[in-house]
Amino acid sequence: MTEAVEVKRILTELFASQRLAVLATLAAEEPRRPYANLIAFAATADLKEIVFATTRATRKFANLAAEPRVALIVDNRSNRETDFGEAAAVTILGTAAEVLGPERERYQAIFLARHPYLRDFVTAPTCALLRVRVEKYILVTRFQEVHEVIPAP
């Protein structure tokens, strides 16, 4: 079916063209309010996981330790009025976990392939590498056409 192919193509293109995403977490401490950051991200080839890095001292890392459920936004807007008709935005719902042990090298390679200039940052001993298992994509195109994709486990 064409729209299925189309949706996958848009997601793939978004992840290939965009380097930054907005990450929303929930504050660990009272008052537990939503919190948003810009992060550098990479998606795995099967589009089932999103990888990003943060130093362990950050507020977002603390938030994630308390509440691993996250929302992210990736979009290709150009900050012009034409965006309303032309831009695509995807909201990603998922659960984050730090990547530790032998797996770390594989995920680090995925992240660095997208952001080679962040090598020093990612390999620093204080930096954590996280992966988000995607539970749902919500793709918005043409201003208000909305599709949801639930990745197979």
């Binding site: 996958k8 034409t82 032309e86 043409r142 909305v146 599709h147």
Partner: protein, 714 residues
């Protein structure tokens, strides 16, 4: 670049900014040819207007509602209408307006012609006549500015949108200039082509008495001369029947009787024909290519109104219907004649045909004769279908003509407000629904009567006359072209559901519609009011016929199917019938496929639709379970409060609309049956939703936003 340039100020670097027409007029002026006093509003004014008001973004949003290749012709027309409405209702920013005032004011002729002048239209690639708007006899700065906006809007006309690829139409880069000319009210006018597209050895001159607007829009038929391109010798002359002439009115133009002594006299003498031929040659020298020129003869002087390269719509591939679509834009006179033909000849003939077919007793035919009869009925249906395309569909343009006039005069918030004046109440489908609702009212009082309906033997004196009227007039076509088998059980179900809820009344009663009409007409005086009343009358007829013609055609289709059913009842095999019969059978009974909810994306997961965009076709918001109706039988499962989701609703199917909370339709357009009837009952409707019946499933919780044209699932 200045907002406004006089012809003398146009330099080669202004070519794009003044548009094709403006640039050509400046060249003519430079070469000493007689052209009217002309001011050019450059593309900069357009750009400031769409930039400062945010219109550029709004245009883009409208254009991106749906992929272009999925738009039907009617949706393109609707899109153009909405864009035009945006231009019309967006005021000029005060700063821009003041500067236009200052630049135009001192030089503005008392009476003007405001013409589009699109950049690139002087190149052969992107030029053919009739895509953009021009307005004759506009008086006063305020009116000129209003018409300037309409000229700008015509950058996005239905024709331009159809040929957007050839034109390179793009919201970021496309712009429109306008030429504001002194109105030259010549006594004879016309067009001339330096090269006859049908015969390159010839040139063509066409002429009428009065203004050439009548010639250009097809209201007045011109005399026509064919000339040898090499020598200018007249090789053919054809006189047109002359009875009318287009003259300047108080504003705009008016059609008048041509003086009797002129009716037998060609508008041009041979010497004048020759003079125009020499003008064509001179223009070809100046521009290097044969020209398509508009001229007028004023007090013995030949004036050039505009000149452009000869062009025709680019040839499309097989199945390119675009030039046919454009030919649907017909004049009032043409449509009035067509209406007479449809109302007085075609519909009565169809009615007779359907009655005659219905009166045949098929059971008495032997099988060979029955096969003959099936073939005959199939051919009759095809023949009427052809009439439908050739005569009924073009008549729909009457609604569009009126819509434009109404919107220009009233500037309503809702671009489709004019539909309220059309009085859909007279439509057959609404008459049928009224009968159903009256029957339901009786059933509400005496539920036990349902049993009589179910048995097909209605005796109750309150119900029987209604029931008989309904069965007599609508029994064989309650489902339109398809064989739906309006069974007694189906009817009983409908009535039961209708009796369950309060009656869904139509939005306006005839008195209110008449009041709206009166309000509208009171905006005009004298002859103009009379003219508007005539346009409204034509639009009403077009509107009614738009629904009714389908019902008539459906009755003939139903008689074809009735004969086929008789054949099958006798155990006949469909495959043994002529291929044309089988094809028609397939066509009349085809239904779109339903798909299971959610679609697999290879290697990723399942895709679900959350929100779909269509076209807002009737305002309001409703929530309820979806009922996807793929086959007419599905109508008889419809429950009160459900949302009707369908592929293409035909008038035969609209009998459940009084039960529906909203309508969602795959097919798009404001003048389709779903939109018309939804507006009539005041329920929300969204049309033009791609794959509606595949992406929505019966039972899905839906929210239909008829203000914004959005459907939300879940």
């Amino acid at each position: 670049m200045n907002l406004v340039l006089r012809l003398e100020e146009v330099k080669p670097r202004h070519r794009r900014g003044v548009g094709g027409k403006g640039f050509a007029l400046a060249a003519l002026k430079r070469h000493g040819l007689p052209v009217p006093t002309t001011l050019i509003v450059t593309t900069r004014a357009y750009e400031e207007f769409v930039g400062l008001t945010g219109l550029r973004g709004r245009i883009l949003l409208e254009l991106r509602r749906k992929p272009f290749q999925e738009l039907r012709w009617e949706e393109i027309w609707d899109l153009a209408l909405r864009l035009r409405h945006l231009f019309l209702t967006t005021p000029l920013p005060p700063g821009l307006e003041a500067r236009l005032h200052d630049a135009l004011g001192p030089h503005l002729p008392a009476r003007c012609v405001v013409r589009s002048s699109a950049p690139g239209e002087d190149s052969r690639r992107a030029s053919f006549a009739g895509l953009h708007a021009s307005f004759v006899n506009v008086a006063g700065l305020q009116a000129v500015l209003e018409h300037l906006k309409l000229v700008w809007a015509s950058l996005w006309s239905d024709g331009a949108l159809l040929y957007r690829r050839e034109l390179g139409l793009d919201v970021r880069t496309s712009a429109m200039a306008a030429v504001i000319q002194e109105m030259v009210a010549g006594d004879r006018s016309g067009v001339a082509f330096g090269l006859n597209p049908q015969d390159p050895s010839q040139a063509v001159i066409e002429a009428v008495y009065g203004l050439n607007q009548g010639l250009v829009d097809g209201t007045v038929e011109p005399d026509r001369w064919l000339l040898d391109r090499a020598t200018g010798r007249i090789v053919d002359y054809r006189a047109a029947p002359k009875g009318e002439v287009l003259l300047p009115g108080r504003e705009g133009v008016r059609l008048a009787e041509l003086a009797p002594e002129k009716r037998e006299v060609p508008p041009l003498s041979e010497a004048e024909v020759d003079q125009i031929f020499r003008l064509l040659r001179r223009l070809e020298e100046i521009f290097g290519t044969p020209q398509d020129v508009e001229w007028t003869w004023q007090e013995g002087r030949l004036v050039v109104l505009q000149s452009r390269p000869i062009s025709t719509p680019p040839p499309g591939g097989e199945g390119d219907r675009r030039s046919w679509y454009l030919s649907l834009r017909r004049s009032f006179g043409n449509l009035t004649a067509l209406r007479r033909k449809v109302e007085e000849e075609l519909l009565p003939a169809m009615d007779r045909e359907a009655r005659e077919l219905a009166s045949h007793s098929l059971a008495e035919l032997d099988t060979a004769s029955l096969r003959e009869e099936i073939l005959r009925r199939g051919r009759l249906y095809r023949q009427w279908k052809k009439v439908y395309w050739e005569d009924f569909i073009p008549l729909a343009h009457g609604v569009r003509l009126f819509g434009q006039l109404y919107t220009d005069a009233v500037k309503p918030r809702d671009p489709y407000e004019f539909l309220d004046l059309l009085g859909a109440a007279g439509m057959l489908a609404l008459r049928r629904n009224r009968l159903l609702l009256e029957m339901a009212a009786r059933v509400r009082e005496r539920p036990e009567l349902l049993e009589e309906v179910r048995r097909g033997q209605v005796k109750d004196p309150g119900l029987e006359p209604l029931w008989r009227a309904f069965m007599g007039e609508f029994g064989d076509l309650a489902c339109g072209a398809n064989t739906c088998g309006l069974t007694s059980g189906g009817l009983a179900h409908l009535l039961e559901e209708m009796a369950r809820r309060p009656v869904q009344a139509e939005r306006f009663d005839p008195r209110e519609v008449e009041a709206l009409k009166g309000q509208f007409l009171s905006r005009f005086r004298g002859g103009k009011r009379e003219e508007m009343a005539q346009y409204l009358e034509l639009a009403r007829a077009s509107y009614r016929l738009r629904d009714d013609d389908n019902l008539y055609l459906g009755r003939i289709g139903a008689q074809f199917l009735r004969a086929l059913e008789e054949y099958r009842r006798r155990g006949g095999d469909l495959k043994e019938l002529a291929p044309e019969v089988q094809e028609l059978w397939a066509e009349l009974t085809a239904t779109p496929a339903e798909q299971p909810g959610g679609v697999a994306i290879t290697g990723l997961g399942r895709l679900k639709t959350r929100q779909l965009i269509g076209q807002p076709a009737s305002p309001g918001v409703a929530r309820g379970p979806a009922r996807v109706v793929l086959r007419p039988e599905g109508l008889f499962q419809f429950r009160a409060g459900e949302i009707l989701v369908c592929d293409a609703l035909d008038p035969g199917m609209t009998l459940v609309v009084p039960l529906a909370a909203a309508i969602v339709e795959r097919r798009g357009g404001m003048l389709i049956h779903g939109s018309i009837i939804a507006r009539e009952y005041g329920i929300p409707c969204v049309t033009g939703v791609p794959d509606a019946t595949r992406r929505i499933h019966t039972g899905d919780a839906l929210t239909v936003d008829g203000y914004l044209g959005i459907v939300i699932l879940g």
